[in-house]
Amino acid sequence: MESDEELMAAVARGDERALGILVERHTPRLHAHLTRMTGSGDDAEDLLQETWLRVARGARSFQEGRPVRPWLFGIASNLARDFHRRRSVRRHVRHDASPGQTPPGARPLETIALRDRVRRLPDRLREILWLRFYEGFTEAEMAEALGIPRGTVKSRLHGAIRELKRGWEGRG
């Protein structure tokens, strides 16, 4: 199987097949990320299309050897942030698309309360937590995706954990 980087190098040369493979490989996860960030499946679909348009438009200037997945998520995250900025009244960000999915053995109230606390985190902290947990991004990949130093990634991740833990410890 060709790596993302090999495919992107081919896309930069105008290879439509390589672009198609990248779209099919990454669209579901990008969509999930955008749905979490925008809180709406419909808005996520629009931003997803825009993400791939930007990839296609910027393919020729893509720096060879650069990791592709963080770049893709970086484009998607930027679009989602712009989307929020354009909407002066921010929508209620939905963190959970299906509330009845508490795993067996978990305490439902605790799960819901923590989910709610994650939802109330500042965007910059929540985004880091999502990229780490759902996408399995390393510090370096998150730094690449968000265009911030690794130290900032680390401090934001631990800041998010501290914030959530404070609320969790204070639960009745």
């Binding site: 099919e24 579901p28 990839v55 698309a97 923590l114 959530l164």
Partner: protein
């Protein structure tokens, strides 16, 4: 190992979906967690958090939407690929503008002649010449700018046409 370092390490390990269990941890880390209430509490918190995050389902995406994304992206890629068609369209646009150039020059000349006739009795010759130079310079600058934007304009129109389904 300090509690802070242990908790950072635990965060790194436990926030990874499908991460290996405590039996695969470094013995020093395991021993610390067994002996330290604060760090054991951190493990408990991280487990609750990952359970909560894992329980959040993502909305499903219709396969048709993936196909649509793919088709639009491919169209955009084609639109941004250098091609001979772009050259042809550029030449076409330049020819159309060049055909209009004599008209623009003639109009500018008439305006200059009219203005000169009006201002001749009022202004000294040196001032008239200076105004004429300024007028000609402005005209040339405008025409030059217009022509400089032609390739950008042709490219933008072409890309927009190709990207639209």
């Amino acid at each position: 190992m300090s509690c802070e370092a242990v908790q950072e390490e635990l965060t790194e390990r436990l926030l990874t979906p499908g991460a290996p269990g405590p039996e695969h941890w470094d013995p020093a880390l395991r021993t610390h967690v067994q002996a330290c209430t604060a760090c054991a509490g951190h493990v408990q918190f991280l487990r609750a958090l990952t359970t909560s995050l894992a329980s959040a389902g993502a909305a499903a995406l219709a396969p048709a939407h993936i196909a649509q994304s793919r088709a639009r992206a491919v169209r955009a890629l084609r639109a941004h690929r250098p091609s001979r068609a772009f050259g042809r369209e550029l030449v076409g646009a330049v020819v159309v503008l060049a055909l209009g150039l004599p008209l623009a020059v003639a109009q500018a000349w008439l305006i200059a002649q009219g203005a000169a006739a009006l201002l001749e009795p009022l202004l000294p010759e040196a001032v008239l010449i200076a105004l004429g130079v300024f007028y000609a310079g402005t005209f040339l600058l405008m025409v030059g700018t217009l022509y400089a934007f032609v390739p950008l304009w042709v490219a933008a129109v072409r890309r927009a046409r190709m990207e639209v389904p």
